[in-house]
Amino acid sequence: MLKKLAVVATAAAALVAAASVHAQQPVKIGIILPYTGQFADGGTQLDNAIKLYVKQHGDSVAGRKLEFIRKDTGGIAPDVAKRLAQELVVRDGVDILAGFLLTPNAMAAGDVSAEAKKFMVVMNAATSIITTKSPYMARASVTTPQLNESLGTWAATKGGVKKVYTMVSDFGPGHDAEQAFQAGFKAAGGEVIGAVRYPVANPDFAAFVQRAKDLNPEAIYVWVPGGAQPAALGKALSERGIDARKIKVMGQLELADESARKAMGDAALGIITAAHYDPDHQSARNRDFVKAYVAEYKRTPNFFSMGGYDGMHLIYEALKKTGGKTDGEALIAAAKGMAWESPRGPISIDPETRDIIQTVYIQRVEKVGGELQNVEIDKVLNVKDPVKLRMKK
């Protein structure tokens, strides 16, 4: 009798010890971002938001501590991103892969997520097909078609635009945006009177804007990557005499973000953009978020930050739901269908595609209290990624 008791007691003790050892082991999260190079600023903003979320919500979830390992890709480098993801899994034993600003890097790391069966959260990269690379991948940011197709549809319907001239950067994301916008615009009955593509690196927009002006269009759709280019384009527009209040100038949110507006000055007035997040979004949640971010980093957050913040939220909530279990199957199952109120508005993770469903806001640059701001003039709710929707059919 006593022997049996002893065996049971030992077994119980062993189980408790094992459980507590398990509980003691931290959850390792590998963050892969461009911390240096031309995309470094986006990486910085995203990482800041990750750190802010951890500060606000503590660094433990479901009884386990969180440990972060950060790796720099230096820019577009899918071979490096893949290797870093492999090393994070094999060398550092991470449970979750996160970050991913750039599409080629996210695609390459997706292979590792699929092979190693690790939960992966894409916090910025915006090409539609990324989430098809691994069944353990979820996205918390946005897809290019979500924004641009919605804008195209809106422009041809509520926007009252019948003809448009499109100008985009001559590389992947620019082509995607052009395709998405034209698809939405034409499907809603609009006509594209001309299209041009300008080189990615150091374009001087004057020549291209002049070409646009020669056609005297009713509206111009523009896509430029964030950074210095939105401001440069805006200045070229005003220098060539294109008044955004008379000719509708439309684009993705980077075109009218804070640094662009600051650099363009009043020339920005009237620019219409489609955004999934703007720091001036009027909600209590967002005001708190922005306040905390500014207090911590002396900078306004942008959509990079939002991707990082919501990505972390997804990780935390998924871990809570699985009770701290970190295997890919459990975490992705927990992530599917998860819905919450983010500072950007209501969002959820599509259980079928594991991609984000969110509201797309149509906003226009106006002067509010002497300052240039993006003012919401319309919104489209529960936008799913249209490209994957069509892929299904």
Binding site: A40, Y198, F208, E239, A263, A267
Partner: protein, 286 residues
């Protein structure tokens, strides 16, 4: 016709910006045969100096330009005296490696001190917008850029051709050994020229912000264009840099306007063609 004039004007302005950024490298490379790939780091110093003065100390934009020049000139002199002098005898490959190391350090330093964010600079209102003349719109800032570049060119050419110091510099560029033999203090001439070249790069960097922006990667991004201007123009030639920058700026702009599908190709095609035609550069001496 109007659009042609507009394109020529815009292209010329862009060329002038390239000229300011490149002329210093052309002269120092031609004079001392020292490969200074960190030339655009000097431009960055000027740019960040201007930004700091405008944003943190509220200086008016125009006042920051001379200081951008001085700041970059100082940095280049310090670098030259302390480090570069030891490498004049080194192989060209070693000089490349060394100055690339300096570029890396400068990029990291810029990220450290200023962050990775795009630096906006608000130019005064009288430099914004455009004016219309004979049916063509001319951007005010570009006119300003052209004016500054032409003034700089005039001063450079004048000092080279008509001053004592200029004569010494020309002698040193043409034949260093002979110049030394004649008792010309070549080291000093070079130091001053180096400072001048660095300072001009700084000025170019400050002026460039309004057109192409400023971030820590600037030192890399513009290196290629500067090298193109220097190679096509010919080492050691101010006129060469001016001509090359003009040709490249205008063909870049004209290409984008008339053949947008050629886009970025044109500037490289023009460079390849010109180099094949004149390997020593348009006005090169060697």
């Amino acid at each position: 016709m109007q659009s042609l004039v507009g394109v020529l004007f815009d292209g010329f302005a862009y060329g002038m910006l390239l000229f300011l950024l490149s002329v210093g490298l052309s002269v120092t490379l031609g004079m001392m045969n020292f490969v200074n790939l960190a030339h655009c780091s000097f431009a960055m110093v000027g740019g960040y100096a201007a930004v700091t003065l405008v944003n943190s100390y509220g200086w008016p934009f125009l006042a920051t330009l001379p200081l951008a020049f001085v700041a970059a000139a100082l940095v280049s002199v310090v670098l030259e005296r302390l480090l570069y002098r030891r490498l004049y005898r080194a192989s060209e490959l070693d000089q490349c490696l060394f100055t690339i190391g300096i570029v890396f350090i400068s990029v990291a330093a810029a990220s450290w001190f200023f962050g990775t964010v795009q630096q906006p600079v608000s130019v005064p209102d009288y430099l914004r917008g455009s004016v219309e003349f004979m049916g063509v719109r001319f951007a005010v800032y570009r006119m300003f850029l052209i004016a500054v570049a032409l003034a700089v060119t005039a001063i450079l050419v004048f000092s080279l051709e008509y001053t004592h110091f200029g004569a010494k510099v020309r002698a040193a560029v043409d034949n260093q050994r002979m110049a030394r033999g004649l008792g010309i203090d070549v080291d000093r001439a070079f130091m001053i020229t180096f400072a001048l070249g660095g300072g001009l790069a700084g000025l170019g960097g400050a002026l460039a912000i309004e057109i192409v922006g400023l971030d820590p990667a600037f030192a890399f991004t513009y290196l290629v264009y500067v090298l193109i201007v220097v190679a096509v123009g010919g080492l050691g030639s101010i006129g060469g840099s001016f001509a090359a920058a003009t040709v490249l700026g205008i063909s870049d702009m004209a290409g984008k306007y008339y053949f947008p599908w050629l886009g970025a190709f044109l500037i490289y095609l023009v460079m390849v063609a010109l180099l094949m035609w004149r390997p020593a550069g348009m006005f090169g001496k060697r």
